[in-house]
């Protein structure tokens, strides 16, 4: 965060740089699909030909957390998988955003049982929730737009997550 602290303040130059950086970030989100169950299939359908997500910039789907900035948690997360999810979340570099796709990731969904985590937002911070079981690919695209709106409202000097 060196550049922003050097320039500092809310002058004309910093807002323009803000806009430029946010424009670049939101139109080139690199998703990290964390697909476990049925929602993963709809996520794959979103990445495929008919509901193309790469029209909106999110084309580079890398399965490594170190190179991505949008974590899409799709599918049900159970007891054994939660530490894995947290580890992947920690490995992603800042700034990062999380989409919780589907009912199971957002709130436990149909399954209120002994192994299901009733919403990943208890254990990692989530930015956008997508309802549906599974959500249609258009809903996931809408979620990506929401994330883009969030990204375009970011400010460089205050940092994403505050102090």
């Amino acid at each position: 965060m060196g550049l922003e602290s050097m320039i500092g303040g809310e002058g004309f130059l910093t807002t323009k740089i803000n806009d430029l950086v946010n424009w670049g970030r939101k139109n080139a989100l690199w998703p990290m699909p964390f697909g476990t169950a049925c929602c993963a299939i709809e996520m794959m359908a979103t990445f495929s030909g008919r509901y193309d997500i790469s029209r909106f910039g999110a084309e580079v789907v890398r399965f490594t957390p170190r190179q991505s900035d949008l974590l899409i948690v799709s599918g049900r997360i159970c007891l054994k998988m939660m530490p894995v999810l947290q580890k992947i979340y920690r490995q992603m570099p800042e700034p990062k955003w999380v989409i919780s796709m589907g009912a199971c990731a957002s709130c436990g969904g149909v399954f209120d049982t002994y192994t299901m985590i009733q919403g990943v937002d208890q254990f990692i911070p989530v930015d956008v929730y997508v309802p549906g079981c599974p959500p249609r690919p258009e809903s996931l695209l809408d979620a990506v737009f929401e994330v883009q709106k969030i990204v375009s409202g970011e400010k460089l000097d205050s940092g994403k997550h505050g102090s």
């Binding site: 530490p83 947290q86 002994y114 192994t115 299901m116 919403g119 208890q122 997550h161 102090s163």
Partner: protein, 223 residues
């Protein structure tokens, strides 16, 4: 047929009037009398037949079925928990077998008391038993004696209970809440206590203890 009298001397399939049962099942008829006498009961429903025995008699029957009667395909091993119901034992271990040439499905239900240490394993007869026995152990706590690798399969290794027992509540005993909240603060990731979440009680999905716990934990609504 009751199990305290030895089987009659008449050969199987004899349709004499003294025999009250119809012709016995071909699989049962082909079992040697020593093994066949251990069968407690034979039930038919919906076109399917199953035999009921007690543990550990099922091992001898399964060996015979595998080698002499050519049941080469073990479809499944599972268990049923009858806690609270009026049955002779608590558990029943179920084996589902299939014979390919004449497409015959049979089942073997073996009553298993709670106090019995272990059940003989059938891993040397069919390899598909390896994972089914592991899973039955994981879900019910039944130990299969002779399985070379009896660890938990679906639950984490240190999970404290056996989920499919009837006295384990559906929503668990709080194991699903024991994770920290990982969030970034400044330049690093910190761990906090997890956020509370709203609890709803579904029909029949709770035990009395869980209801009390929920009422203790839930906050009063703001006006």
């Amino acid at each position: 047929m009751s199990d305290d009298t030895p089987p009659p001397e008449t050969p199987p399939g004899d349709a004499s009037p003294s025999n009250q049962q119809p012709a016995p099942h071909p699989v049962r008829a082909a079992l040697p009398p020593l093994i066949e006498s251990r069968i407690l009961d034979e039930v038919t429903h919906g076109g399917q037949t199953w035999f009921i025995v007690r543990t550990p008699d099922q091992r001898a029957i399964l060996e015979h079925l595998r080698f002499e009667q050519n049941f080469e395909f073990l479809k499944d091993i599972t268990a049923i928990d009858f806690l609270g119901r009026d049955t002779i034992e608590r558990f029943q271990v179920v084996y589902v077998l299939y014979r390919i040439p004449d497409k015959l499905n049979i089942r073997l239900h073996a009553w298993l008391p709670e106090e019995v240490e272990s059940v003989p394993s059938v891993v040397d007869l069919w390899d598909s038993a390896r994972w089914s026995e592991r899973e039955t152990h994981d879900m019910f706590g039944i130990v299969f004696d002779g399985n070379p690798d009896l660890r938990r399969l679906l639950m984490p290794e240190d999970f404290p209970a056996f989920p499919l027992l009837k006295d384990y509540p559906l929503k668990g005993r709080g194991e699903r809440r024991q994770f920290p909240l990982v969030r970034p603060r400044g330049n690093e990731m910190v761990e906090d206590a997890p956020l509370p979440y709203p609890v709803s009680i579904g029909r029949g999905m709770h035990t009395p203890e869980y209801v009390e716990e929920v009422q203790r934990e839930s906050k009063p609504r703001k006006k």
